[in-house]
Symmetry: C2
């Protein structure tokens, strides 16, 4: 008997360690049946990853799985939500058991870490791609949106910026002069982000606005500025750069800073904090164990001004735009 | 400035007539924020449609949109759920405004009919495909699953069966001898199903099991049989066949019956009803305004037996399996 899509789904996706009490009915019926806690909003986000656009078709399936799920969880983190469930739509040219098995290994490792249950999805034939919808909870009135920022608020980012773009350059073979250990580290940084779930939760009631950096800091910060109707001044000397990024840039600091401003798929959080909450921020983030860096301040005049300490810069930068890229 | 994915999303997907009170935050942030009614389960289903597998790349975008959304709503209908929200992940080779505009016309017409709000999604570059996640509500304990059927229960289907397969044959150019009006009618039947939302809701508390027919009656009924651990006897003379299907089959009734048993993407409901609920069924469905037909009965012995009135048939049939098809 021919192996069909049902068998594929059954074999690979029904065996998972996570078994949440709020999942009344999981994979195997027309719908999943789920329970949202009283007093909470449901937070929902959807992301697609397409071979040739977001990853190479021959990329390690476990890394692709991690990247897909981590980027989606990052959207929950950016709202301050607690992850709960994920649906997975997987399209592949042929049922490839080796690929599926490796993919599931990466997928379920991360899902288990965050106690996320796979509640359903679809498996279809076609060019390799995957779409995930993650869902989580957040108590009423505590979500971090993009529209609450005010002039005077301070701008922060978690982690370091720029490594994802450097890793992508290595993956695409655009950088051949690096040591193999440096190259490998940067590739891992591109694929293996850590969604800032604890940081997002810690920012509830403290940050005035937040989002995750998927299309580049400058591009994404623009969403907060537009929705909150403010501008920003960023001091590029404050941008958090990893030693590996500086090495990648041949210690050309300006080049590293430009990468940090535009690198997409970082999945770090960018958030704003009013002056009177800065003390609370330090306390809250000590518990989350995440490095945060203040890189600038919001101002009344719209637009973004880049400064090197007090000197204004006229750098021309563009964001990370999948429709403009040809990554394969 | 180059047109990027944000502009695309903004322009085409933020203008919708539906504006639900349970959507606190919709498109434009990292997540949508939603409110599930107290006392209700959240029902979630995901479906992908891929060009070349589920539709032809040059198919009318409005019909593709209808088919995608209707098939997904049909999963909610099969649980007895009330539709509420949808997320749309759209992958396309280039931003094509003509295509997007027609797609949105079909998509929002159907979404509006069922009062479904588009709450988010993703737009990416790649081979044409779309993945939808629909969500709806169902009061606790009232969901129609696949596992409650018992031997002795009667098997029903809504509407007619077989037209979708006949329409697909026309689309693929496998039938050239038909009148153009017949051909056109069958193509419409393939693309434009009506999700049985009211019927599904009417079946709460009456049906012992239910699902929608996406992979062919025989294949899908098998899920109920497997999960409920029963078998089925189907009288093929009871299968509801449209006049157009009989015309398509050159009035070869056996051929039409075989199509009815295997035709995928019908999006009619197949459900089972205990003897003592048959009276309630008639009353409930009178309000839903949907034709239903009793086509057989569940039996203790596993497997499916096909009969022509009392004569057992040895037809060999297989279900609709996307991995086995090469539709392009």
């Amino acid at each position: 008997m021919a192996r069909n899509e049902f068998e594929l789904i059954t074999r690979y996706f029904e065996n998972q360690a996570v078994n949440r009490k709020d999942v009344t009915l999981s994979i195997g019926d027309d719908c999943a049946l789920l329970e949202v806690p009283a007093g909470c909003h449901l937070a929902v986000s959807t992301d697609s990853l397409v071979a040739g656009t977001h990853f190479l078709a021959d990329a390690d399936p476990a890394l692709v799985a991690h990247k897909a799920l981590a980027s989606n969880i990052s959207d929950l983190a950016a709202m301050g939500a607690t992850p709960a469930w994920v649906s997975l739509a997987l399209t592949m040219p042929e049922p490839d058991e080796t690929w599926l098995s490796e993919f599931c290994r990466g997928f379920f490792a991360l899902a288990e870490y965050y106690n996320i249950e796979l509640i359903g999805g679809d498996t279809t034939k076609g060019p390799l791609s995957l779409t995930l919808t993650v869902q989580g909870f957040i108590p009423h009135g505590q979500a971090l949106t993009r529209r609450g920022a005010k002039a005077g608020d301070w701008i922060y980012v978690t982690g370091n910026l720029g490594d994802s773009a450097a890793g992508l350059a290595v993956i695409l073979g655009q950088e051949n002069g690096l040591s193999s250990s440096l190259a490998e580290t940067l590739v891992q940084r591109h694929y293996i982000s850590q969604p800032r779930v604890l940081a997002g939760q810690a920012l509830r009631g403290i940050a005035s606005a937040a989002l995750d950096i998927s299309d580049g800091l400058i591009s994404d910060l623009g969403h907060i500025l537009k929705q909150s109707q403010v501008g920003a001044e960023i001091d590029v000397t404050k941008l958090p750069l990893s030693p590996e990024l500086l090495q990648f840039a041949g210690h050309n600091v300006e080049q590293a800073q430009k990468l940090a401003l535009t690198s997409g798929e970082e999945y770090e959080l960018c958030f704003t904090v009013p002056e009177h909450n800065r003390g609370a921020l330090d306390t809250a983030l000590a518990h989350a164990g995440v490095k945060v860096t203040c890189i600038g301040q919001l101002v009344p005049a719209l637009g973004v001004t880049l400064k090197n300490s007090d000197v204004e810069l006229d750098w021309q930068l563009t964001g990370w735009d999948h429709f403009a890229h040809q990554n394969n």
